[in-house]
Each structure stands twice: as structure tokens, then as C-alpha cells.
């Protein structure tokens, strides 16, 4: 009832001729791990959350703010100020999402927008066990170039992104916590869309980061990421595939250690009807098992295979159920997830 009341208030505001938009992304998520070792993982978890986004536009100026609140955390996800320039060029300043591949830009905290309950592990949020920086405080430049009916999009992000603290990747938040002075981040991405009226995409990206750490004797990690992705659709099938090659130089006080691994995912969706969708995803890596960079972090980075079903039972609400099997070294664990997600208005 509260949600309905908030939603109708926002809907009334949105129906006026105003240059802003307010969106709510509430969700409730149950995670069950039948074979969980209680010392490492909880057997049952419940998360109730909501993202709230506002966007505002005045002439060529833009502003977007995004907050995320759950029973586990509260975070100002994004606060960005932009200016639209001629020739489809948009410059943003503030706390932003890095254009690291497809998933991070396409869905990010809009859980309702993605079909699966979980994000691919390689683009997991930093504070949820993620291993790559996907937020930056700095600038983001985006440009679209039309070539006939095709589009080439170039994105370039630069700023401070992450550090390793208490064996976790910690992103630079707007509380301006110390320890990020030496943090540097750059991501460049180019994608090609053969038809601007279709979503088919081919993209490549490169990212370079300097990640300070609080680990003994380890000053910083210099990280380079090379990647490529595609999004395809034909008939009732949608396919997303991406590959990430991650190269790290661990700068210890008296030596440098190099580590490399490759991570890939293939995500396939089948739209059974306009309301029902089946999906499956395969996440697999090479060289990640004993990777020196991954060993700096507490969270497990696992190969994963999952399958799920999503029902959009109204135009704004969906329920998804997903089962996954995760493999870490020689151990496998099952996860069962059920999620309600929505977007209002």
C-alpha cells in the first residue's frame, strides 16, 4: 500500500510537463544455499532493497542521482552532472558507472532490467565481492557517431576508482574516505551497433587502474583489462557474450609479481511469451584458481552455471527464480534464488 501510494504520487509528478524523471527499483531477494558450510556462507539470506533514481534536464545540462538502500547497506550510487554538446557528445562529472563492458552499463543497479537474479561474477559490485572497479569518481565522455543507419559509440572514463581494504575491493564513495590518493582509473570502450533501431551490438574495451592496498608489503596493484562483448537477438532469443582478460602487476616493496586470468560469460534468454522468459548463463575462467590478485581478496571468484525463469506478471513487476552451481577449485555449491523486482512508475 505504501509502495502503491508512493508510486501514484511519483506517477502524478511524472505526468506533468517537467524535465525530470523519478524512478524506484524496489526488490526482495531470497538466497538459499542447501550445502553451505556455515563457517563461510550463510545457508539463508534475505535482502530487501530499493534503488531510487532521479534525472533532471535543463537546456543542455543534465543531472542524475541514484541511491541504493537495503537491509544490508545504504549507498549514494551515482551523483553526476553533465553537459550535452553538439554532435551527440555528452560529458559527465561526478560518481559514475564505468563503461566496463556490456552488463555494467546496460543494467547496473536496475535489477528489474536484467533477466537474471545475479550479475555475472566478473562485473559484480565491489561491495558484494566484485573483483574489478565498476564505479569511478571523475569524468565520463560519451559520443555517438551515426554512419548511415549504424552507430559507433565511444565512451571514455577517467578518475579515481578503488582500493583494496580489509581484503575487499572498496570503491571510492562520496564520503571521500582517505586512501584513494594514489587510485587511478581509465576505461575506454567502443561499440558498434549495425542498426540504430535494433539492439545488436559489438564492443571492445580497455581499462587500466592503479589500486592502492592496505596489504602488508604490497603497495599497489597495477591492473589492465582487455575485453570484448556482443549482444545479439534473433527470433525470441537474446544472447550476451563477453570476455575479460585481466593482467595485474602486484607491486610489493621489494618485488613485482605478475598475474593473469581470463573470464568469460555467455548469457542466453528465450522469450517464451511476452511475460515468460527462460534464461541460462555459463561463466567460466582460465587461470583464476591460483591467481595472486584474486588471492588478495576474501570473496570467492567461481565458475558458474545457472538457469532461471522470469515472469513479468504486470508491466512493472517481475518474479524470477534461479538455480546455480558454483565451482571453486574442486568444490561445488548450489544456490537457489527467488527475487521480486519492480520499477515504478
Amino acid at each position: 500500500m505504501v509502495l502503491s501510494s508512493i508510486s501514484s504520487t511519483i506517477a502524478r509528478a511524472a505526468s506533468q510537463d517537467r524535465p525530470y524523471e523519478i524512478l524506484l527499483f524496489p526488490s526482495a531477494h531470497i538466497e538459499v544455499r542447501p550445502d553451505a558450510d556455515e563457517s563461510d556462507h550463510k545457508a539463508f539470506e534475505l535482502e530487501i532493497a530499493s534503488g531510487a533514481v532521479y534525472s533532471w534536464k535543463y537546456k543542455n545540462f543534465r543531472n542524475i542521482g541514484e541511491a541504493y538502500i537495503s537491509n544490508h547497506e545504504m549507498e549514494l550510487e551515482r551523483l553526476q552532472f553533465g553537459r550535452q554538446f553538439p554532435k551527440q557528445t555528452l560529458l559527465w562529472l561526478g560518481r559514475l558507472h564505468t563503461p566496463l563492458g556490456f552488463w555494467n552499463s546496460e543494467y547496473h543497479h536496475g535489477l528489474h532490467l536484467q533477466s537474471s537474479v545475479h550479475r555475472p561474477g566478473i562485473v559484480e559490485y565491489e561491495d558484494a565481492g566484485g573483483i574489478l572497479p565498476n564505479h569511478v569518481i571523475g569524468m565520463l565522455l560519451r559520443k555517438n557517431q551515426n554512419i548511415g543507419s549504424s552507430i559507433v559509440n565511444v565512451s571514455f572514463a577517467f578518475g579515481s576508482a578503488a582500493k583494496i581494504k580489509d581484503r575487499e575491493l572498496s570503491s571510492f564513495n562520496l564520503d571521500f574516505e582517505s586512501g584513494f590518493a594514489d587510485s587511478r582509473h581509465l576505461t575506454a570502450r567502443i561499440y558498434f551497433q549495425p542498426d540504430e533501431l535494433d539492439e545488436l551490438k559489438y564492443g571492445i574495451f580497455y581499462s587500466q587502474s592503479t589500486i592502492p592496498t592496505d596489504t602488508n608489503n604490497l603497495d599497489k596493484v597495477r591492473q589492465k583489462i582487455f575485453g570484448a562483448y556482443t549482444y545479439q537477438n534473433w527470433l525470441a532469443f537474446n544472447l550476451t557474450a563477453a570476455t575479460y582478460y585481466v593482467n595485474n602487476d602486484l607491486n610489493f616493496i621489494n618485488k613485482t609479481q605478475e598475474s593473469n586470468f581470463l573470464s568469460n560469460y555467455i548469457h542466453l534468454e528465450y522469450e517464451v511469451t511476452g511475460d515468460w522468459m527462460l534464461y541460462t548463463r555459463w561463466e567460466f575462467s582460465k587461470g583464476a584458481d591460483n591467481d595472486a590478485y584474486l588471492k588478495l581478496l576474501d570473496h570467492d571468484f567461481s565458475d558458474k552455471i545457472l538457469g532461471g525463469v522470469r515472469l513479468d506478471f504486470t508491466r512493472r513487476q517481475a518474479i524470477s527464480s534461479e538455480i546455480s552451481r558454483r565451482s571453486i577449485d574442486d568444490d561445488t555449491h548450489a544456490h537457489i534464488s527467488i527475487q521480486w523486482s519492480a520499477i515504478f512508475p
Binding site: P19, E21, S105, G110, W234, A236, G274
Partner: protein, 149 residues
């Protein structure tokens, strides 16, 4: 998107309803004083995807008509050529990415009509029969024509 299943379902829905009267069409509508001229199917799709906002030198403000589910589905099938879920996702992503607002939508036919009448740049889609009683509305073009049973 060529979502065969969706299209098949919509087709069944349309076939089973009485809306397929020979004179039932979906039309693109604006204020009777508008300077907006006929749009190509691709231009109309671009307007509703937020990729274009002009017809020559005339600004276009698209408005979604949610007063009738079948009408909206016909519009999605014949103009946008995407499932509702996909279309909403693209519009939402546009707001999240670029800070631009989604096209307004109305569930009330009366409010929608008032909105169209209030600005020469507004456009929307309606059943042709709904326009007949509104002298202040102008049909720009037919975007779907029902076939006779």
C-alpha cells in the same frame, strides 16, 4: 525485435476480439493546428525510441497511449516492433544513461486528448473511431489498418 511468440500471441488476441472491424484502424494523431507531416515508419520508431525529436524543423513530442491495452500492443507490434518488456527497458535505460525523460504516458483517454490539444508538437496514437468525435484532433497518418473478417 522479431519475437515470433509475442507476435503470434498478439495475432491470436487480435483475431479473437471484435476490434477487427473493417473500418478499425490505428492512427497517428496531433492537434489540428500542427505542422507535423507524415512520418516514415523508421522515423516514427525513432521518435518513440527517443532517437529523433524533429520532423524537418518541427519539434515532435511523443506521448504513449496506455488507455487501451490492445491499442498499445498493436502500436508496439507495428511501429516499435518490440515486446513491451524490451521497449520499456530501452526507455528506462535512456533515462538512467543520459538523463532524458521517457515519453509521457496516459491511462485516461480524456487526459490524453487534452494533452494533445494543449501543444501543437504533441503526437500520439489512437483508434480511428476515437478521433471522429474530436474536431481539435488531426490524423497525420494511418499506422495500422484492421483487415476485414
Amino acid at each position: 525485435m522479431k519475437k515470433k511468440c509475442v507476435i503470434l500471441m498478439l495475432y491470436c488476441l487480435l483475431m479473437s476480439s471484435s476490434i477487427l472491424a473493417a473500418d478499425k484502424s490505428v492512427v497517428l494523431v496531433a492537434n489540428h493546428q500542427t505542422n507535423i507531416e507524415k512520418l516514415t515508419p523508421n522515423d516514427l520508431k525513432k521518435v518513440y525510441l527517443g532517437l529523433a525529436r524533429k520532423n524537418g524543423e518541427v519539434k515532435i513530442i511523443p506521448i504513449r497511449n496506455h488507455s487501451d491495452n490492445v491499442l498499445h500492443e498493436v502500436f508496439l507490434q507495428h511501429v516499435i516492433r518490440m515486446s513491451s518488456r524490451y521497449y520499456e527497458r530501452i526507455l528506462t535505460k535512456m533515462t538512467l544513461d543520459s538523463g532524458v525523460t521517457r515519453p509521457k504516458s496516459f491511462k485516461s483517454h480524456n487526459q490524453l486528448t487534452k494533452e494533445i490539444e494543449s501543444n501543437n508538437n504533441n503526437i500520439t496514437y489512437m483508434w480511428s473511431t476515437q478521433v471522429e468525435n474530436h474536431p481539435n484532433l488531426k490524423v497525420i497518418q494511418v499506422i495500422w489498418r484492421g483487415e476485414s473478417n
